[in-house]
Every structure is written in C-alpha cells, then in structure tokens.
Amino acid sequence: MRPNTPHAVLTIEDSVFKGGHYNASSTIKDTFYGLIHGLVAGRYISNTDHGPSRFVLRQMLAFYHAALVLGEVERDGRSLSPT
C-alpha cells in the first residue's frame, strides 16, 4: 500500500498483528505529505507517530547526497565508501 493512503485494519476476532513499513524512492512525495498529515491531525488519523521513520528519511537524504554529489556509489552499485 502506498504511503498517505487512508486505511483501517479490521479482523473478525481478537488478533495479534506483526507488520512493518518501508520507504520507496518512487513515493517519497506521498511519504512527506503523510508526515505533515500526521503532525497536524495526529491521533485523529493515526495510532502512532512513526518517530523512527523521520530518522530513516534523514538517512535516505544522506544516501542520495553521497551517491549524487560525493559519487560514493558507483552506477554499478559498488560503494566507494569505506564504512
């Protein structure tokens, strides 16, 4: 399911959930809009604030900067970064 998509979870009996999220480069725009909706509408629209996701997005930006500006990722995928 894309980010920033209204959704609800419904089960027919008591259940335990396990799930996760990921950020896709192709849907960054919607991820950003979702963050704004989360900040403004909070618990009215969501049951969590997804705190760690903001750290992951900051890391994504650092990755893009390293790949594009610093040239630390070669186009064949090999990293030139020592760490």
Binding site: I28, F32, I36, L39, V40, L57, G77
Partner: protein, 220 residues
C-alpha cells in the same frame, strides 16, 4: 546506510537513487530536500518539553525555556543530525544547480519549501479551528515560531517561507492551499552543464556554520 545497501544488495544500491532526468524523480528528490529543511519542524519532539507527558501542563518557567530558548524533547544527537541533514539538502540543491541546466533549481526549491510551509500553516490553522489535536502540544503558534526560525532572517529561503505564509494569512479562503508542488515543475528536458573541474563542496562548512549559528544558540 550506504554500507548496508551495498553490502547486502551490491548491484541494487544505485537503483534507489532518484533519476533527476525524469519529472517524478526530481520532484521526489526536491521533496526529500524540503523534508531535510523541515525535519525539525516535522518532529513531534520539537513541541514537547523534555519528559513532558501528553496531558501535562508546563510550569511558566519550563514554558519560558521551551518557547524562548527552543529547549525541547529532541535529543542533542537528533538535533545535530537534523542540522547535518539540512546542510546536505541545501548542498544537494546547489549541486543540481551546478550540474544541470534547464531549470532554476534554487528558485524552484524556494517555491517548493515555501509552498510546503504555507500548506502546513494553513492546514494546522484549519485543524485548530475544528479542535483537531495533532502532535501533542503542537499549536499553530508553535509551528509559526518554528517556521520563522529555520534560517537566519535575511536568507532568501527564509524570505520565501515568510512570503508564502504571509500569502496564506492574506487569503480569506485557504481551501485550495495544497501540499502538491507538481504544478510548479515544468516538464523540461535537462542537460548536463559543461563544467571545468569537480563540484566544490568546501562551502558546505559555511552552511554548517550558518545553521549552527542560528539553531544551536537557540537550543542553549
């Protein structure tokens, strides 16, 4: 993250990088740069005093520290990470300007950040009017304060942000204030500029200095 991606998926790392030559790729990249600039503003902990519970009222002394000195629940490590992210976002935009012709990247980035800030402000104003509570202790006034202090006051980006918010305040009806920036991005064909030498990131340190000058001093 570079290490993680290239160790586990050595052939896939580059596939995660947006293609600047496509409209969707550059809108995604610039949107993430806008997030980089706004990462403090969008963090829930920015609006909370350290240790403050959801329903806890602050004493006047704590409120003074939070409002006047931006002493909030973000950890120093996170705040530094945000400063670094902001610098990287600005550097990425400068690099795009250096690398590709066909678009005025700096101007478009200013418009994008301004539109995002204006939409956030208008959206929060509407939510408050309807008594919809967002992030704990995050008020319209607190958001306005954060948006007014992203860069030093004379910088062109801060002027773009202030102007966009002022436009919202001047409008009676903000119903059409959208987060979408698709309309300001023309479908142009980009080409690489002929450049002598490598891109110079040395002024990145200047950006760091500007950011730390305005943000760290406010947090002390």
């Amino acid at each position: 993250m570079i290490s993680m991606l290239s160790n586990y998926y050595p052939e896939k790392a580059w596939a995660h990088v947006p293609d600047v030559l496509t409209v969707d790729g550059r809108i995604g990249l610039i949107t993430l740069c806008s997030f980089g600039v706004l990462c403090n503003v969008l963090d829930f902990d920015t609006y909370r005093f350290p240790g403050q519970r959801r329903d806890e009222k602050l004493s006047p002394k704590k409120r003074e520290k939070l409002v006047a000195h931006d002493y909030n629940a973000m950890t120093p490590r996170d705040r530094l990470h945000c400063m670094r992210t902001r610098a990287l976002a600005l550097d990425l935009v400068c690099w795009l300007d250096w690398k590709y012709e066909g678009l005025d990247w700096s101007e478009l980035f200013g418009c994008t950040v301004g539109q995002h800030c204006a939409a956030l402000y208008a959206y929060k104003a509407k939510a408050e009017a309807q008594d919809i509570e967002g992030a704990p202790h995050c008020t319209l006034k607190a958001i306005a304060t954060q948006l007014a202090g992203i860069f030093y006051v004379e910088s062109s980006l801060q002027r773009d942000i202030n102007r966009a918010i002022q436009d919202v305040l001047d409008e009676v009806d903000t119903e059409d204030k959208s987060l979408s920036v698709d309309n300001i991005w023309d479908s142009v064909t980009l080409s690489e500029k002929d450049q002598d030498g490598e891109y110079d990131s040395s002024y990145l340190m200047d950006i760091y200095m500007i950011i730390t000058d305005t943000r760290v001093t406010r947090s002390c």
